[in-house]
């Protein structure tokens, strides 16, 4: 799922400093699960903003909404009526949600309240680790199901590097070396031979290096 983190309150307050009435829009999808943009996060942020603005002697009105998913037009088109009365939308969805709001409601300015971080896995309750970088050319088949693109600091394809010590990455003592994990996993499943093949440099055009990517599923198109 997509994991996002709330922007510092000062940055949010600054972005809405000229507004007297805003819509604070959460999202019922990924950001609800990672606690940063669901209905509860909307209520708490609205409360913080109202208190902060009251202290500045400039009260603000906030319409609180949390569509099922902000990244799909079916769910956000219904907000059109309420949007007529607001100065801006503060969106605490991921970057896709913010852009969907901008695209579907071009007459209203939509501002981001979150920093969208990565596609992650909840290793325990309320703790997410990055697991997929969306490189567009999956290597998990020969790496034993552990991604060196998302989890190795250098994105090495023929690791580990000299910075790996006792299974830990030199970048951060809390960070396991992805290539140590890959080695251990391949050893366990009897596929260490996978490491004998030298991997060619990756073609990054499938990633974000060749412009915006599109996916079309012809059979399902209307």
């Amino acid at each position: 799922m997509i994991v996002a983190d709330r922007k510092p309150l000062d940055e949010i307050l600054n972005s809405i400093k000229d507004c007297d009435r805003i819509m604070l829009a959460g999202c019922g999808g990924c950001v609800t699960i990672c606690f940063s943009g669901g209905a509860k996060a909307v209520q708490l942020l609205a409360s913080q903003i109202k208190i902060a603005r009251k202290k500045q002697d400039r009260p603000i009105e906030i319409i609180e909404v949390t569509p099922e998913r902000q990244c799909e037009y079916e769910f956000i088109d219904a907000l059109a009526e309420d949007l007529k009365s607001v100065d801006a939308v503060l969106s605490i969805a991921c970057g896709v949600g913010v852009q969907a709001m901008t695209e579907r409601h071009p007459d209203t300015v939509t501002l981001p309240g979150l920093n969208t971080k990565f596609m992650g896995y909840p290793v325990e309750h309320a703790l997410w680790d990055e697991r997929c970088a969306g490189c567009g050319d999956c290597v998990l088949e020969w790496t034993g199901g552990i991604c060196p693109i998302a989890r190795c600091a250098k994105k090495l394809l023929n690791g580990p590097c000299g910075g790996s010590a006792d299974g830990v990455c030199e970048v951060d003592k809390e960070l396991p070396c992805a290539w140590q994990l890959i080695y251990d996993r391949l050893k366990k499943i009897g596929k260490l031979d996978n490491l004998k093949k030298i991997r060619e440099p990756k073609d990054w055009r499938t990633s974000t290096n060749a412009g915006q990517r599109k996916i079309k599923f012809e059979e399902a198109m209307l």
């Binding site: 510092p8 309150l9 000062d10 708490l44 409360s47 913080q48 208190i51």
Partner: protein, 143 residues
């Protein structure tokens, strides 16, 4: 000018702090009238939003009073409340409100006297801090 009388909201667990407040009354213990008590089935129900709303609606101070640690009727409710109070301290600091205005206390239903002490302590603390509107920019806040 008359002395500042703070508005303090107390979120009290039904099984301990609320009963302790009742006991304080039965024991005829005097404590400041600045506290408005809200009874919860457990402090585990003390949602961060309730605590924020209290400040949003003009409270100068808030405290959550639950059972002694390890004695929660619902096992971990008071521990969850403790974490939420810490979280709300962080949210308050962000908006420029002194985090000392909110606190978590633990007591048992037999501690009528302690309840009165807690009310005294909080009232005194908030009186010293002054009205919530006094709190300035966050740089000056204690961490």
């Amino acid at each position: 000018m008359s002395e500042f009388e703070p508005k303090i909201v107390a979120f009290c667990c039904n099984f301990c702090a609320f009963a302790a407040a009742d006991l304080a009354g039965a024991m005829r213990i005097q404590y400041p009238a600045n506290v408005r008590i809200i009874r919860l089935p457990c402090t585990g129900k003390a949602d961060a939003l309730y605590l924020m709303k209290a400040f949003e609606d003009g409270a100068d101070g808030v405290f959550v009073a639950g059972c002694m640690e390890g004695e929660c009727h619902f096992l971990r409710g008071n521990l969850r409340a403790k974490k939420r109070v810490d979280y709300v301290k962080k949210l308050l600091r962000e908006v420029g409100i002194n985090p000392q205005r909110i606190e978590m206390f633990n007591l048992s239903s037999a501690m009528g006297g302690r309840f009165a002490e807690i009310v005294e302590e909080m009232t005194q603390r908030i009186k010293e801090l002054g009205p919530v509107s006094n709190d300035g920019c966050k740089e000056t806040l204690e961490t």
